[in-house]
Symmetry: C2
Subunit: 348 residues, 2 copies
């Protein structure tokens, strides 16, 4: 009977379907853009140190003070401009609830992260998409300026393409309303928008620990915004949205930049190998600034995805209205890239 | 500038203020109803076992399958009736977003958990309170039947009082709309409402791991509802709302019922000592079925709270419109109870 009380916007929505999470360890998992390498050894030390009865039985720090101090130091920003989240999806939800009323408007480019539509549906808001140009650039001028939130992922998924900071600044000024630069993959890119916070008043940045920091398992992300905006966002977040072990892990990770600079080099090198290998097999690969590549082929793509799945390699097949389909492939280890290319040679 | 785009309902709200979390280990912390004992040793083993590079770098199970299987077995319920949450506050948020439209109505008894008001404000909904009788019973008949959600905590905070299952059933049928039985403290009570799920169609139960399971630090809670209702709630929750270490901890905890039955006995014994001690000092103590007690005194209460704070004992001073004030004191260890009573003897 509570079923009849479910809000229409919820009842009618299909629900966001995340990429498949298989438990089979023999599967090569290149479908959800996880880091193929383990997190920093310091993460393990920090979690073990936090694993005490007293820490577990007590509530964690509501604001994540230690993390904010560490991130502020590493990124050279004001700790008061940081809001912690239970994954960057939590941050995107908090932003939506802060800025978007029922029947409000959420805008994102397309093809892009499909969660933005779900966020609009859950909030009972309208969702409008602005098609990228064929070169994965935003149209000039940006056509919608009355959105309650404009989500702009940079680098974008599924394309892996990224705008330069100067272009981001121009776009942010053009959009006008709250402009959320979703930098879930920002640490892999050549440039990011961090310096725009405070400089361009409507810019809010979101970051994830699930990709670059190899910590998808612990759910951590954060936002960077002007401190008075953070003050409003705080009212919307759950008081204790991040747990004591995740906070310990994230703090240790962001402090070990040397370790992650090394992972980044390795992933960018693998991305190069993957791009060359796919191109040799006739794929048209979009130049990527993220830890995945987007590619298309003259042959039908869905059977390629399915054949790979039969061969225990999971990638992502995506199909966007008004654009068409493509394959999004996470950059794995060199061995995983070789295995993928070997199987693709049989399949294509 | 995004400030001017913040929704009015958010901008105007004060924000929920959680109990103070002090880092000073010399403070006796009896203000946020944490368990004074550490969690089960099995929790530590389970977290250590989950602490691998592969588990950390990959996304966790979206549904928390292992936890749902374990909880289903322990509680003798259908695993498909369980929804996992990042603390029971996450569950309360998911329920609010599923059932309550903007300008909808949330109802709870008063004095009660003040987060319900914040949930209404964040959602842009109206909040109405139904006063308990002087005996902490709901009025008969329950006066509001058109709420989008009625939150009813049992045991209630701050009173610690609880209705019996038969009374809960009568109340649930009377309320009509979605009736959320918030059993954050349910494991300490003599009876609970679990058997009402499925029997009374509008009942949804929420549980927390922050109190009984001594795991406030890891943020875990769950809801029990009819599976078709869970299907709707799933659309609203973040795909990966619980992390791999919290899931491991919660699963190990719920499987170790023997350990927690022992903690429960100890806490109920301390609660008895605390109740007697406070009564001897002239406090009127409400008989509690939770891990805290609610008390009042003929002397002004706020100075008592403040004097205790100076003496490094934190309790909760609360003041409710239309009811007045009182002190909520968490049941600590026997040593903590003795220390509290010793200081109170000087203060009162």
């Amino acid at each position: 009977m509570p079923l009849s009380h479910v809000r229409d916007s919820i009842h009618q929505m299909a629900g966001y379907v995340p990429g498949e999470q298989l438990n089979d360890p023999s599967v090569v998992k290149l479908n959800t853009n996880e880091n193929p390498y383990p997190p920093s050894p310091r993460v393990f030390e920090a979690v073990r140190a936090a694993l005490t009865g007293d820490r577990l039985r007590k509530y964690p720090s509501p604001m994540g003070d230690s993390f904010r101090q560490a991130a502020g130091r590493v990124l050279d920003i004001d700790p008061d401009s940081i809001l912690i989240g239970n994954g960057s999806d939590d941050i995107l939800t908090i932003l939506t609830r802060t800025f978007v009323p029922e029947r409000g408007k959420i805008v994102s480019p397309t093809p892009s992260y499909i969660l933005y539509r779900s966020l609009a549906e859950i909030q009972g808001a309208n969702f409008e998409m602005v098609p990228f140009t064929p070169e994965w650039m935003p149209p000039k001028p940006w056509p919608i300026r009355d959105a309650n939130i404009t989500f702009f992922p940079n680098p974008n998924s599924p394309s892996g393409t990224a705008l330069r900071a100067a272009e981001l600044e121009r776009l942010a000024r053009e959009v006008g309303g709250p402009f959320v630069l979703d930098e879930a993959y920002g640490d892999f890119a050549e440039e990011n928008g961090l310096k725009l916070v405070g400089k361009v008043p409507n810019v809010i940045i979101t970051r994830s620990f699930s990709k670059f920091y190899a910590l998808a398992g612990i759910r951590f992300g954060f936002a960077v915004a002007d401190p008075p905006v953070v003050h409003e966002l705080l009212k919307v977040k759950d008081s204790y949205n991040c747990d004591v072990l995740s906070l310990a892990a994230a703090t240790a990770a962001i402090e070990d930049q040397d370790y992650y600079a090394d992972l980044r080099s390795r992933i960018l090198a693998s991305r190069g190998r993957l791009t060359v290998g796919l191109t040799e097999l006739g794929f048209r690969v979009t130049p990527s600034q993220a830890n995945f590549v987007w590619c298309r082929h003259e042959k039908p793509l869905k059977p390629i995805y399915e054949s790979l799945k039969e061969r225990k390699i999971l990638i992502r097949y995506m199909n966007y209205t008004g654009y068409g389909d493509g394959l999004r492939i996470t950059v794995g280890t060199p061995a995983e890239v070789d295995r993928l290319l070997m199987e693709l040679r049989k399949v294509v």
